[in-house]
């Protein structure tokens, strides 16, 4: 229980550093710290599938983010305070925290550490015999809730097509490109 609080505080400090530091490469490294602490926290919370996937996905996200920041001829990020959106963000945070803490939202959740598990009792009860998989999470992902996995595969496919479409140069021939003109 103490480890959960220590890792949560580490994540908050890491997130704060990532948002406030001026050098972009340090900010990306701080996001890596947040993701690593999240993966350790998932391991402590007895979720090994989630921990493995989060760790691996965070490594790829770091590589892609470093590619975006490393070789650009950038000045350091400018310190900025746009007053109106700062006030809006502060108001949002205050309203959300007030409603959650005092308005009874967190009071109505089941207590931390005692989930209700009404649907999960059915999955755990005859999951191993009906699906044949002893990893119950894999059985849920690919047998009980296979439509969600089909939807996720579609979203991933669409995102890959989107990236290739954004990155590809359209309509620029080598022979008759006049310098400075942008054919789209």
């Amino acid at each position: 229980m103490v480890a959960i609080y220590i890792l949560l505080v580490l994540m908050i400090i890491g997130a704060f550093i990532a948002l406030e530091v001026k050098d972009l490469l340090s900010a990306v490294v701080a996001v890596g710290i947040v993701g690593l602490a999240l993966s350790l926290l998932c391991l402590i919370l007895k979720a090994p599938d989630v921990a493995i996937t989060q760790f691996i996905v965070e490594i790829i996200a770091l590589i892609i983010l470093i590619r975006a920041t490393l070789k650009m001829d950038l000045p350091l990020s400018i310190s900025n305070h746009r007053v109106f959106t700062g006030l809006a963000a502060l108001l949002f945070a205050a309203a959300v925290l007030f409603v959650a803490v005092f308005g009874g939202a967190f009071g109505n959740l089941p207590a931390f550490g005692a989930p209700e598990m009404r649907v999960a009792q059915t999955y755990l009860g005859d999951g191993a015999t009906k699906t044949g998989a002893i990893n119950v999470v894999a059985g849920i992902l690919l047998d009980y809730r296979a439509y969600d996995t089909l939807g996720e595969a579609t979203v991933l496919f669409t995102a890959v097509i989107g990236v290739l479409a954004v990155v590809r140069r359209v309509g620029r021939k080598e022979a008759d490109a006049t310098p400075g003109r942008d054919n789209e």
Binding site: I52, I64, L142, V160
Partner: protein, 149 residues
């Protein structure tokens, strides 16, 4: 950026990569195939396989990795993974409804058990791995006019 990517990195990195990249690929295949027995599954395994190819590209330069998995082959694998996932789902119609688990379920804990779940894991692994490698190639090899100074 493109010139450095054609050369690769220093000698120490190349020697260490020779030793580790095969092990990373093998580890990814292990996690995919044992997805129904131990934690992991298709998504984590696919991303690990993509990471092994990315490791090869970062250490040796663009040509060494593209020789093994060119862009057209990556998009072929991704389409193959998506279509085979759908085909396995449509096979469920022979048993009753869409996505029904029709293959034989062995005894739990063996490697050949749990019906269509290992086949679905392999299809997802192909799709995710090839897709993420394609995304990385597109983002890294994008040549900028401002960078080519």
């Amino acid at each position: 950026m493109s010139k450095e990517h054609e050369k690769g990195m220093s000698l120490i990195v190349k020697k260490v990569t020779c030793l580790t990249v095969g092990l990373i690929l093998l580890y990814g295949i292990y996690i995919v195939l044992h997805g129904h027995v131990s934690p992991g599954g298709g998504f984590a395994g696919g991303v690990i396989i993509a990471l092994s190819f990315i490791h090869l590209m970062l250490a040796f330069g663009k040509e060494a990795a593209m020789k093994r998995l060119s862009e057209s082959k990556a998009s072929l694998f991704e389409g193959l993974g998506a279509v085979s996932f759908l085909a396995i789902a449509l096979l469920g119609f022979t048993g009753g409804y869409f996505f029904k688990n029709v293959a034989a379920k062995g005894d739990p804990g063996a490697l050949f058990s749990a019906g269509i779940i290992p086949l679905c894991n392999i299809a997802i692994c192909l799709k995710v791995g090839a897709g993420l490698f394609g995304v990385f190639v597109a983002l890294v090899l994008l040549k900028f006019d401002t960078e080519k100074k």
